[in-house]
């Protein structure tokens, strides 16, 4: 157990993995000399040198594809894509190659690759740097998607990702990097298990990544109002811990899903559909979604905050269920 930031936890986990396994290396734009766009890899170049901390030219499609190839070739690459919006440039490689190779080859090849990137809004970076598209990645069979929301998970899920036989996408909400918390050593986490962050009996609040903190604040406010909310942190979107979700809703009979992504076609809809399919009879009210507004992220602070889920909007949605 050590106190550190989310940023440090990601860095430490990478360091630990690189020390333990010579096949692990990191590549991406400015991960080396610059120290990482979010300073996540700061200091790693000094320890591991430019062969294992590889700065790449601006060419997302090819350095992600090269990660796939290197994984096929026996390495365990970690590829950092600075920001989720840029990952669209590499989506062909991820969807058409990384996710398909095992199946297309009849099981002969696998792609043990970890792709990490920052996601989400809240820093006034406007419409080309602020979106939350991790739900798209969760749509793709053949890959796994993790979304650590805590310091311990940042470390634990990264290390777990490096044990997978298949590509894992890890989404780090950019506002979480300075978050402080305890990092746990020891046991490797299992990908696909949600975490119960707060026990409650009146309503299940389901969130992940950057939305977790706001959801926990909403739960605290709800407690003041006499509503005892349970908070589930999904941690992994694919595989999704449907079991824990259904168990919770079956106890509370009400659910609100909180996600920063645009509502229409977001991952919140999937969670809603799973509850519909698995716990319909337990529901005392329709499942509600609190999501991002359907607008390219505006720059101005007040507009951006209005476009994002907030504790207040979560509280309001919960109240609407009673």
């Amino acid at each position: 157990m050590a106190k550190m930031t989310y940023r440090e936890a990601v860095r430490d986990a990478m360091r630990e993995a690189m020390r333990a396994d010579p096949r692990v290396f990191l590549m991406g734009e400015d991960v080396g000399k610059y120290g990482g766009a979010f300073a996540v890899s700061h200091g790693l170049l000094e320890e591991f040198g430019p062969t294992r901390i590889r700065d790449t030219p601006l060419s997302e499609s090819t350095f992600v594809g090269a990660g796939i190839g290197a994984a096929l070739g026996g390495m365990r690459p970690i590829v950092e894509v600075m920001t989720i919006n840029f990952s669209l440039l590499a989506l062909d490689q991820i969807v058409n190659n990384a996710a398909t190779l095992r199946h297309m080859s009849g099981g002969q090849f696998g792609v043990p690759l970890l792709v990490r990137m920052a996601t989400g809004g809240g820093r006034q970076l406007a419409a080309q740097h602020s979106h939350s598209l991790e739900g798209w990645y969760a749509h793709i069979p053949g890959i796994k998607v993790v979304t650590p929301a805590t310091v311990a998970d940042a470390r634990g899920l990264l290390l777990a990702a490096l044990k997978q036989a298949d590509p894992v996408m890890m989404f780090e909400h950019a506002t979480l990097y300075p978050l402080e918390g305890e990092s746990e050593d020891g046991t490797i986490m299992e990908i696909g298990r949600a975490a119960l962050r707060r026990r409650g009996k009146d309503v299940s609040l389901i969130a992940y990544g950057g939305a977790l903190g706001k959801t926990e604040r909403a739960a605290a406010q709800l407690a003041q109002l006499g509503i005892d909310a349970e908070v589930i942190d999904l941690r992994s979107l694919r595989p999704l811990d449907t079991e824990m979700i259904l168990a919770s809703v079956t106890r509370t009979h009400r659910a609100v899903i909180v996600e920063e992504a645009w509502k229409t076609g977001g991952f919140a809809a999937e969670v809603c559909a799973r509850i519909m399919e698995g716990a319909f009879d337990a529901l005392d009210a329709p499942v509600a979604r609190v999501c991002g507004a359907e607008v390219p992220m505006p720059y101005a602070q007040a507009l951006e905050q209005a476009a994002l889920p907030q504790p207040e909007s979560i509280v309001k949605a919960v109240q609407g269920l009673f």
Binding site: E29, D30, G32, K33, Y34, G35, A37, A39, D55, P57, L58, S59, E60, S61, T62, N85, F86, L89, R123, Q124, L125, A126, A127, Q128, H129, A293, E294, V295, P296, P298, Y299, A300, Q301, A302, L303, A306, A307
Partner: protein, 332 residues
């Protein structure tokens, strides 16, 4: 690296010389002020300063007329100012105010001005190039003798869209002026660590595009190269590519600790400051004296002050209008 050698360009009269210096000075003072305001927390998000590169925007823009189009990057205050977007509307945009040139929706990285055919402000590296190809295609299809000027950094050269765009522009002989601002770094990545061929204009030539490298610290060299290039583009001879060699004095953005380059290197480039060089040039030709300089500085300070005042004065876009301008109305 060698720079294409032509006879040194000369300034076209004192008035013009002063105008070039005035514009460069405005960009510099405007950005110095922006940095201050950023530190005070009134400008937020990312702020990428152009300081050191002013000769490019100002020099190149001389070759364009009102009907031409401009496409730029996230480091585009200089281009916007040189194109004539009012400083106040730019500053207001960086504040996120409703009187900003993008109504506070875009911020520093996404400046737009339809009236001046300033098509933005693209923050995905190389993402503006295909847009510029399309604008040039639209002009060609509509028989317009206009130029689309597309600015981008040398970091964009590694991206696939650079390659695709150069090929398409050359293949279709589009009226496109590529303006590559080679400031030697893409964030912390030095050119030699991102390109197997560091002579960018040679890369452009490999697409059969007329290309040359220009001293981007010399506003007259930039101006004359841009004029020559734009004239050729207007003749319908297809695209032209200028590699403008320059340097950014400041950090990549306000959060960059600059671990990747030495103070000495920065100091050396500051020794070839485009404003100082041009000031000396004008003084050497008796086109500028201390009094002029004082006036110019006062004008710039005044313009910046007004810009800040306009930004301060502006109102916030109502939150109720959040979802405005996502869709237009059905067109005819």
């Amino acid at each position: 690296m060698s720079i294409h050698k032509t006879a040194a360009a000369c300034v076209n009269g004192r008035e013009h010389g002063l105008s070039l210096l005035r514009q460069m000075l405005l960009i510099r003072r405007f950005e110095e002020k922006s940095a201050e305001i950023y530190s005070a927390g009134k400008i937020r998000g990312f702020l990428h300063l152009y300081i050191g590169e002013e000769a490019i925007a100002v020099g190149a823009m001389q070759a364009l007329s009102a009907g031409d189009a401009v496409v730029a990057t996230y480091r585009e205050h200089g281009q916007a100012l040189a194109r004539g977007v009012p400083a106040g509307r730019i500053m207001a945009e960086m504040y996120g105010k409703a009187n900003g040139c993008s109504r506070g929706r875009g911020g520093s990285m996404h400046l737009f001005d339809a009236e001046r055919r300033f098509f933005g402000g693209y923050a995905i590296v190389a993402g503006g190039l295909p847009i510029a190809v399309g604008l040039a295609l639209a002009d060609k299809l509509q028989g317009r003798l206009t130029v689309t000027a597309c600015f981008f950094g040398e970091g964009a050269v590694a991206e696939g869209e650079f390659h695709e765009s150069l090929n398409l522009a050359a293949l279709w002989r589009l009226p496109l002026l590529f303006l590559c601002e080679n400031n030697l770094y893409a964030m912390g990545t030095a050119l030699a660590r991102s390109e197997s061929q560091t002579d960018i204009h040679l890369k452009a030539q490999s697409y059969n595009i007329a290309a040359e490298a220009v001293d981007g610290m010399d506003v007259l060299a930039v101006e004359s190269a841009a004029q020559r290039a734009a004239a050729q583009v207007r003749r319908g001879d297809g695209p032209y590519f200028l590699e403008l060699r320059t340097y950014r004095y400041r950090a990549h953005s306000m959060s960059d600790p600059e671990l990747y380059r030495s103070k000495e290197e920065v100091a050396q480039w500051r020794g070839r400051d485009p404003l100082a060089l041009f000031e000396a040039y004008l003084r050497g030709r008796n086109m500028l004296d201390d009094a002029d300089m004082k006036t110019l500085e006062a004008d710039a300070a005044n313009d910046v002050e007004w810009a800040v005042a306009e930004a301060e004065r502006g109102g916030w876009e109502p939150v109720a209008d959040l979802e405005r301008d996502v869709y237009g109305s059905v067109a005819a």
